[in-house]
């Protein structure tokens, strides 16, 4: 009896210990700031700053070191979880890349190169590492609109020859303040400037209002050491200086804490820094015709739809993004808000989203078309127009080109069938690049001595071609390919890809033209700007699309090519949407007679109904007479 009690007591204690331990362990999976307790208020962020070595930053430090978001914000928020978010996880091998999106566009017009690159596994985009763009070079090219994190923190993918540069610049951590610092004095341009100077670990401090950063890590020697002035004694400090930060006076309180104006979202204007787009127009004042997205104009925030949890896996909001019917992500698509996800919300209308009537629209349209086709982007014109985006054209930066036809040229809108067999509007770029084909694959060339020498081989007429993508004669391409082929091994063949075609030397020394997967154009779906219902495609009647001169079916897409013989080819929209032009013309032509056909239909139906009613009346009268006879 005593022995039984002893063992049962032991077992009970062990069980309690296991339960408590698992509770503690699971509690350690989340930090205090990861999960809301339900309060809608934002806790005041008066916090201590930590540097990249996890040491607290004090007001009197000399030299002062920049704050580390990983250690400062990471004190209360799980930085590792957050850095798996969609803005940061492009280079993660296990990340869900989802629908193809806007790539980074490598542009070198002097070498006729326009190449979509992305760390994501999107068809048509090339991995920067595979084409010779090391992470540091990537940040030089595109870092102005990069949030930090991801490949910029991973040592394993960094190029060995940049080892010392990374030691000087530090890692570019996720800049949490880019999205969460609601201060009006936050400057994303400072973040961009510091990245362009390779002052990576200083970027977050510089962008906030609490610090100022000077100096240029890019100009420091490989052996630069901030604590050892001998390593930069040869520098002309009049023209450059080591990177350094100085925190503002009186930002530290008596407990060495600093106030941050933190919000769940810093507002739409902050998102617009990276996510603006404008249909390029060169006429002065044409931007007056440009209205904001109807959701924003209605007072909504980007994050009202593009939600995320602590994992920062932000909802992109496209059809079937969620993995199952029950997935709450589906509630934040166009249909989910405006029509309701029957499994989660029986009535939809998130944020007062109006339920669309779509009066008179045959239901087949909802099976064939995405919502964005009629409601997003610019209305189709007789031919596609140029679009400029923040990331492709460095919008918002002090020296970005304000020309409507600045490179790269993005054609918009172009209508494609997506993976769900539905038509959607997209932006399109026509890649142009030099490549080498060996036995197994075709690989673009964007660096190296051979690539650099191409500019001397190609003479561009920048005066006459101003604003247009440069094109050269066939002989110039032949000459360049001949030059490259002399440098190649026996198995490799150099080719040039442009305008949706591949060009390589044939046996006679001329050009052999072909098409392959690599020469495909790159396109990505348009989600914004959403137009109001009165400006949607079809608001003017069936003829908006189903007419003989409809731009939707029969507009032209400008296909730019680097070859004069192929440049500015116009291709009908139906080639991209997969519809037969002749059939669509015939079908659209029938709409010309539609009013008369409707009238004929109504007259015939009226006759049928009238004859039926006459006979029915006669039958009723007969039956009434018969029943009265029987009585």
């Amino acid at each position: 009896m005593v022995i039984n009690f002893y063992y049962s007591h032991k077992v009970f204690s062990l069980a309690v210990f296991i339960l408590l331990s698992s509770a503690v362990i699971s509690a350690q999976d989340y930090k205090i700031g990861d999960i809301s307790d339900g309060s809608r208020a934002i806790p005041l962020h008066k916090i201590k700053l930590f540097d990249h070595d996890s040491l607290i930053i004090l007001e009197g430090d000399d030299p002062q070191l920049p704050l580390s978001t990983k250690n400062t914000c990471g004190d209360c928020h799980s930085y590792d979880k957050i850095s798996e978010g969609f803005h940061f996880n492009a280079s993660d091998s296990g990340s869900a890349d989802g629908r193809r999106g806007e790539p980074w566009i490598y542009l070198d017009w002097q070498r006729l190169t326009l190449l979509p690159v992305s760390f994501r596994n999107w068809r048509g985009a090339f991995n920067p590492i595979d084409v010779g763009i090391a992470p540091m070079r990537f940040l030089d090219l595109f870092g102005t609109h990069y949030t930090g994190g991801g490949f910029a923190e991973k040592e394993e993918i960094q190029s060995p020859e940049n080892f010392f540069r990374w030691e000087i610049s530090g890692k570019l951590e996720v800049n949490c303040l880019l999205c969460h610092d609601a201060s009006e004095k936050f400057d994303p341009n400072e973040h961009a400037l510091q990245i362009s100077r390779q002052n990576y670990k200083w970027a977050a401090s510089a962008s906030s209002e609490i610090a100022a950063v000077k100096g240029n890590a890019k100009k420091m020697p490989d052996n630069f050491d901030l604590y050892n002035p001998n390593t930069f004694v040869d520098l002309d400090l009049r023209s450059t200086s080591p990177p350094g930060v100085s925190f503002g006076k009186a930002i530290f309180d008596e407990k060495n804490r600093v106030f941050f104006n933190i919000s769940k979202s810093a507002g739409n204007l902050r998102c617009y820094y990276c996510h603006s787009s404008i249909q390029a127009e060169n006429e002065p004042g044409s931007h007056w015709n440009r209205s904001e997205d109807v959701h924003m104009a209605g007072g909504m925030d980007c994050i009202d739809c593009h939600k995320n949890g602590v994992d920062h896996k932000i909802i992109r909001g496209y059809n079937k993004e969620g993995t199952g019917k029950q997935d709450i992500i589906n509630s934040y698509t166009c249909e989910g808000c405006h029509l309701g996800n029957e499994d989660i919300y029986s009535y939809g209308n998130n944020h007062g989203a109006p339920r669309p009537a779509h009066k008179g629209l045959p239901p087949i349209h909802f099976e064939k078309l995405e919502c964005t086709l009629c409601h997003s982007g610019k209305l189709p014109g007789s031919k596609t127009e140029y679009l400029k985006t923040s990331r492709a054209h460095k919008l918002g930066l002090p020296r970005s080109s304000k020309q409507g036809d600045a490179f790269p040229h993005i054609q918009s809108p172009v209508y494609f069938k997506n993976e769900h067999d539905k038509l959607e509007p997209r932006n399109l770029i026509t890649p142009s690049f030099w490549a080498v084909r060996d036995s197994s694959s075709i690989k673009p060339i964007v660096g190296g001595a051979v690539y650099d020498s191409l500019s001397s081989l190609i003479t561009l007429d920048t005066l006459l071609n101003y604003g247009k993508w440069h094109s050269v004669s066939d002989s110039a391409i032949i000459g360049a390919l001949k030059f490259l082929s002399k440098k190649s091994s026996s198995d490799s063949v150099y080719l040039f890809v442009s305008g949706g075609k591949t060009y390589e030397l044939n046996e006679e020394g001329g050009l052999k033209i072909g098409e392959s997967g690599i020469s495909e154009n790159y396109s990505w779906a348009i989600g914004h700007d959403v137009r109001p219902a009165s400006q949607s495609l079809g608001s003017g009647g069936c003829g908006d699309c189903h007419s003989f001169s409809s731009n939707f079916f029969f507009g032209d897409v400008v296909m730019e090519s680097s070859l004069k013989s192929e440049s500015d080819t116009l291709i009908a929209m139906t080639e991209f949407s997969g519809y037969n032009t002749l059939y669509q013309k015939a079908f659209s032509f029938s709409f010309f007679f539609r009013p008369w056909l409707k009238a004929l239909l109504i007259i015939s139906f009226s006759i049928i109904l009238l004859v039926f009613l006459i006979h029915t009346a006669r039958a009723i009268i007969f039956l009434m007479n018969k029943s009265s006879d029987n009585l």
């Binding site: 009066k359 059939y583 029938s590 239909l601 109504i602 139906f605 049928i608 018969k626």
Partner: protein
């Protein structure tokens, strides 16, 4: 739901018709030949100086054309929906829409020309009250009339629903309802026409 329902009802209809015709020793081949002959004779009757009555030729041609059109409508509608399980689109939809217009015009003409012939009379009421109604061969003329008016009864909502869909009156939910109404009433219209044709064959074989 519609797919399963229509497959079941159409299959049952065709099986019944086939077995009934087999019982009467009427083969499909002979039916097809006699139909072609009648069409030829009707066209021949249109020529001036022919032996046949012009009025009868026009009457017959109207109903034959109507039958051909409803067969075309059924094929264009049911091939994508029943066979492929998809909605109508593309060339089949275009063919369906164009032939539907001609069908409605011809249907109106058939109503004007044939409705009087299909009026019920006292003898029809006598058959209704007698046990002879179960004998299809004996009461075939009665059933011809019933099937004709059933077809008209289902044809009216089938056509009306499409007319309402042509105008921006109903919202998306209403359009779906109208489309469902059109689908089901058209199905019953088609079945009524099949039975009408069957009863016509039986009554002529008598």
């Amino acid at each position: 739901m519609f797919r399963i329902f229509s497959i079941v009802t159409l299959s049952a209809t065709f099986v019944f018709i086939y077995l009934s015709l087999k019982k009467e020793n009427i083969s499909l081949g002979s039916l097809y030949k006699s139909f072609l002959n009648e069409v030829k004779n009707s066209f021949a009757g249109l020529k001036p100086g022919s032996d046949g009555s012009l009025k009868n030729s026009i009457r017959n041609l109207l109903i034959y054309l109507c039958l051909c059109l409803i067969l075309l409508l059924a094929l264009t509608a049911y091939i994508p929906t029943l066979v492929a399980g998809e909605h109508m689109s593309g060339l089949l939809l275009t063919a369906h829409v164009k032939s539907a217009l001609f069908f409605v015009v011809l249907f109106a003409a058939v109503m004007i020309v044939w409705s009087n012939s299909y009026r019920f009379n006292r003898s029809d009421f006598d058959i209704l009250n007698s046990a002879g109604i179960k004998n299809i061969k004996k009461s075939s003329e009665f059933w011809v009339k019933i099937s004709f008016w059933t077809a008209v009864l289902f044809g009216i909502p089938a056509i009306c629903s499409i007319i309402l869909m042509l105008y921006p009156i109903f919202a998306a939910d209403g359009m779906v309802y109208l489309l469902d109404l059109h689908k089901y009433t058209s199905l019953f219209l088609f079945i009524s026409v099949i039975f009408h044709t069957y009863f016509l064959i039986i009554s002529r074989s008598n």
